[in-house]
């Protein structure tokens, strides 16, 4: 058996002309052709900024552009209005090429009040020259306090060098609806469609799709607002852009990571998803609840995280390999069952959509902080398979792979994704559906006489498990130390052997894996090692640095346990190795930290222990996806290149 990790990203180097002015006859307005733009919509919670942005991204993807989105979500459902910290929104990076990360600073912002941009200004999200389309209604608000704040902010924005355009969004919407709060987002969508010459036909289709559960009246009203926003921009704004489509022959799908997980579960043939609501994982189960019942499966919402995995383990034990989808705090609660499933060798797929931790942490923000917990989080020796998806496409395919590995190796398989992948949208090649993705019917043939329930192959550690219903296969699984018959055994040699067999399976599995592919030269001054959702940002940063003549390459790991082989050999050819991750590490420059007390980022810990190479790390826990610019800076800092 061999699992070839296909390199999923192809760099597109064909240059596209940009900054060139063309006259579009249909829109009869001078529009600029651009290579890419980063757009942000920021608002109070509940104003529909995400719906607007996701629609804009979907329309753009459907027009053949590369897109990547990241949602800006406050933890509360309705934080106080006009608050800086409660800003809710979305960033969409749209390009002529494939887009693999959220990029650096925004080119255009739509802000529904003058306070919400500050949450993003604090995160250095904007630059001099960023266009800010600002809701104008606050200028004439009844409250003097608000009017003052508005004019102060306006001055400040101008000082910061933003290109501020005041837009009467509220007034324009009120011409069509009585409550502008409902529908302003679609008016903004219309405005953006005009600015970026998006197809209104596709926009209408999108509105029909997102409001499919609503009445025709609501759909019509939103479509009217869309057209009104488009018209207003046509008559009042001079800027207009075109982002040429990618030249692609293949058919593409566009979705976010949680949707990809849900479709992956469907494609894996797993019949049971047992879950408990937790941000940012839950939306995967929402979609599954809608689609799995149409394909011979069900979602079970358990009473708590422990019961969720217990239910999944029960279903798996009975032959229906199940999935449980959760995030950090849920993983913590599932610990005991995770150890049990390894001890009793029960197949199981565990998906952890990571968020900021420890404890409740940053529920809606991205972090890659659960790696060590996944690898070592249970008491005792708990060898296992841990995979990490680095793209939305991988979110889909890895679930299918996880189910197969779980059954073949009679083990829980952990799949790590994160909040960035969960809500980010990205197009990927429409997969060709294959029959062998789907779980085969469970084996109910009589159990072969004299084969024990843990008849470990001494070389590989593998064994075949009896499934309830198989005549003659009766056995009782247990979390206690047990012999090959699954009977409780406290004998020293039997526990030693059983532990060895449970570990050996994954040594056997590692032999089937390929070493990671090196992106760039095989030799150099610096090798960046990453995992998970940072792939696109690392690739872009490394390419930027390479273009500046820096001898840097990168590898990206998909398997964290067992590790992909050949790392030590790859490391030998680089003067420096540094992981780039979104989790906490101490700065090595601080006088308080010594090498023996410094907290490393999580992959760095693992690689240092595994390879005995002095591996450094760059990481932070700002709750944001890493931007290529930050990584370039870290590369230069590591190599002491003046910047």
């Amino acid at each position: 058996m061999s699992f070839c990790l296909e390199k999923l990203y192809v760099r597109m180097s064909d240059s596209i002309p940009f900054q060139e002015e063309v006259l579009d006859s249909k829109i009869s307005k001078k529009s600029k052709i651009i290579k890419e733009h980063i757009v942000e919509i920021v608002s109070d919670s509940g104003e529909g900024a995400q719906k607007c942005g996701q629609s804009f991204a979907a329309i753009s993807a459907k027009m053949g552009n590369g897109v990547w989105t990241v949602e800006i979500i406050p933890a509360e459902i309705q934080p106080p209005a006009r608050g800086r910290a409660g800003a809710s929104g979305i960033r969409i990076r749209v390009g002529s090429k494939k887009v693999t990360n959220v990029g650096n600073r925004a080119d255009l912002i739509v802000a529904l009040n003058e306070q919400v941009p500050y949450g993003r200004i604090d995160q250095n999200a904007y630059r001099v020259g960023t266009t800010l389309l600002l809701e104008k209604k606050w200028a004439t608000d009844d409250s003097e306090d608000i009017r003052t704040k508005y004019s102060e902010a306006l001055d400040d924005f101008n000082k910061r060098g933003y290109n501020v355009i005041e837009v009467p969004m509220e007034d324009e919407c009120l011409k069509l609806v009585s409550n502008a709060r409902k529908g302003k987002n679609m008016w903004v969508l219309g405005m953006l469609c005009n600015i970026y010459t998006r197809s209104l036909e596709k926009a209408e289709f999108q509105i029909r799709s997102i409001f499919r559960k609503k009445s025709e009246k609501i759909i019509t009203s939103n479509i009217e607002l869309l057209h009104a926003g488009f018209e207003w921009a046509q008559n009042n704004l001079d800027m207009q852009y075109q982002i040429p489509a990618m030249q692609e022959e293949d058919e593409y799908l566009v979705m976010n990571g949680n949707e990809a997980i849900a479709l992956g579960v469907l494609a894996s043939g797993m019949e049971v998803c047992s879950m408990y609501p937790i941000t940012p994982a839950t939306s995967a189960s929402h979609l599954l609840a809608e689609i799995l019942s149409k394909a011979g499966g069900l979602v079970h919402q358990a009473e708590d995280e422990i019961a969720a995995i217990g239910f999944a383990v029960g279903a798996s034990y009975a032959g229906k390999t199940a999935v449980t989808i959760t995030s950090g705090p849920g993983m913590a609660l599932k610990t005991e069952f995770l150890g049990f499933a390894t001890m009793a060798e029960i197949p199981l797929v565990v998906i952890d959509v990571q968020r900021g931790g420890p404890s409740t942490g940053l529920p809606t923000k991205v972090e890659q902080g659960d790696l060590l917990a996944a690898l070592y989080g249970q008491p005792g020796a708990v060898p296992k398979i841990v995979m990490a998806a680095s793209t939305i496409e991988e979110c889909f395919h890895f679930v299918i792979l996880a189910r197969k590995l779980a059954e073949q190796f009679r083990t829980p398989v952990y799949l790590l994704t994160d909040a960035n992948l969960a809500t980010g949208q990205q197009p990927f090649k429409r997969p060709n559906i294959q029959k062998d993705w789907f779980a085969p019917p469970i084996d109910q043939s009589p159990w072969k006489k004299d084969v024990k329930p843990f008849d470990w192959d001494q070389e590989t550690g593998l064994s075949k498990r009896p499934i309830p219903g198989q005549a003659g296969g009766q056995y009782t699984v247990t979390g206690l130390a047990h012999d090959k018959l699954s009977m409780v055994s406290y004998k020293p040699d039997e526990n030693q052997e059983a532990s060895e067999m449970r570990s050996k399976k994954f040594n056997s599995f590692q032999k089937t894996l390929n070493p990671p592919e090196i992106s760039g030269e095989e030799k150099g001054d610096l090798l960046i090692v990453g995992w998970g959702s940072t792939l696109g940002a690392i690739d872009e940063a490394v390419e930027t640095a390479q273009n500046e003549g820096i001898k840097v390459s990168s590898i990206h790991l998909r398997f964290l346990s067992p590790l992909q082989p050949g790392l030590k050999e790859i490391f030998k050819n680089f003067k420096n190795i540094m992981t780039v991750e979104i989790n906490y590490s101490d700065s090595k420059d601080s006088p308080q930290f010594s090498e023996s007390s410094r907290m490393y980022s999580q992959l760095a810990w693992v690689l240092r222990a595994r390879t005995l190479v002095d591996i450094d790390c760059y990481s932070n826990v700002e709750g944001q996806p890493l931007s290529p610019a930050k990584i370039v800076k870290a590369i230069k800092a590591k190599l002491q290149i003046p910047q």
């Binding site: 049971v272 011979g296 279903a315």
Partner: protein, 317 residues
């Protein structure tokens, strides 16, 4: 079982199971432990019903009684402390062909597993649940359990426990969607057998509370009940458990109780002066989650491919 049908055709099964087909090994409980009686009765029921041992799953948690599955030659799941219910529900969810039994103790069910217990009652999946309640932690050596009587002296309450106990019957009857709640005791094996049988025949979550002694740590538990026939009442009703004359005559006191009367059942459960044996409550119409779980089995790969393809279409560019 073999049998002659009314049309004189012989009804045969491919295999006839004997009691030995259901048992395995020698139970390692203490001599005099009530668990032995439950084990014997469970094996007797399986033989009586001629259930295929390969189609039975005994699920337990942790504790003395939870070793039960190891002594059955059926499929078994000796799981985690307090988590027998979620596992059993998971086993049953997509496998309506399996008969599921849950063996749990007072610590396992009423303490560490109390949350799962409440929800399992509500799910009302078709399974037979035996709560073996000896009112003490045995495996960990004599600690007070939530069902221990007020004043119980143990290693954790050396001066006597200070809180009133949980009454498992009262608690179960308090959860919405309870569908079968009965009580029996280890010293009346025939009554226990009839109760377990009625529980097995009920389609839903059959909760059977077995009062039993721990010969090591709770010697005197139920002594009064077991010796004073007047303290125990047999619940009689045409819709109740039909225990037969032999069992009936072991009770001096009997009362009529309609098992469809939930309020009356709760009243009886809360009556601290008496102990009632038999069926407190039954609702054959309570919604069953296992019926939902088995609602869409048997999809072909082609059907699944078709659904997936249509989902892809929705996301197509």
């Amino acid at each position: 079982m073999y049998g002659l049908k009314s049309n004189l055709e012989c009804d045969t099964l491919s295999k006839h199971f004997t009691i030995e087909d259901y048992g395995k090994g020698v139970a390692r409980w203490c001599p005099g432990c009530g668990d032995h009686a439950v084990l014997t009765n469970a094996q007797r029921l399986l033989k009586e019903k001629q259930l295929d041992p390969a189609k039975i799953v005994f699920v337990s948690g942790i504790g003395c009684s939870s070793r039960f599955p190891f002594y059955m030659d059926t499929y078994g799941f000796h799981g985690l402390h307090g988590r027998a219910f979620p596992v059993a529900c998971g086993v049953k969810f997509r496998r309506p062909d399996l008969d599921v039994f849950v063996i749990t103790g007072d610590g396992d069910c009423c303490s560490i597993g109390a949350g799962a217990w409440v929800h399992a009652i509500r799910y009302n999946m078709n399974m037979t649940v035996l709560l073996l309640n000896n009112e003490i932690y045995g495996l960990t050596k004599k600690q007070t359990s939530p069902t221990s009587r007020l004043g119980t002296v143990s290693n954790t309450t050396p001066e006597g426990s200070i809180l009133p106990p949980i009454n498992p019957i009262e608690t179960t009857l308090g959860v919405s969607n309870a569908s079968f709640v009965a009580q029996t005791a280890d010293w009346n094996p025939e009554h226990m057998y009839q109760t377990i049988k009625a529980g097995f025949e009920h389609k839903g979550f059959s909760f059977i509370h077995v009062i039993q002694r721990c010969p090591v740590f709770q010697m005197n538990l139920g002594k009064e009940m077991a010796t004073n026939k007047d303290a125990m009442y047999l619940l009689n009703h045409k819709d109740g458990i039909q225990v037969g004359a032999d069992v009936s005559k072991t009770f001096n006191s009997k009362i009529e109780h309609d098992p469809s009367d939930l309020n009356k059942a709760r009243e009886l459960a809360m009556d601290k002066s008496k102990v009632f044996m038999g069926l407190f409550y039954q609702n054959k119409k309570a919604p069953r989650y296992d019926v939902h779980g088995a609602s869409n089995l048997e999809y072909t790969v082609e059907q699944k491919e078709d659904v997936l393809s249509k989902e892809f279409d929705k996301y197509a560019i």
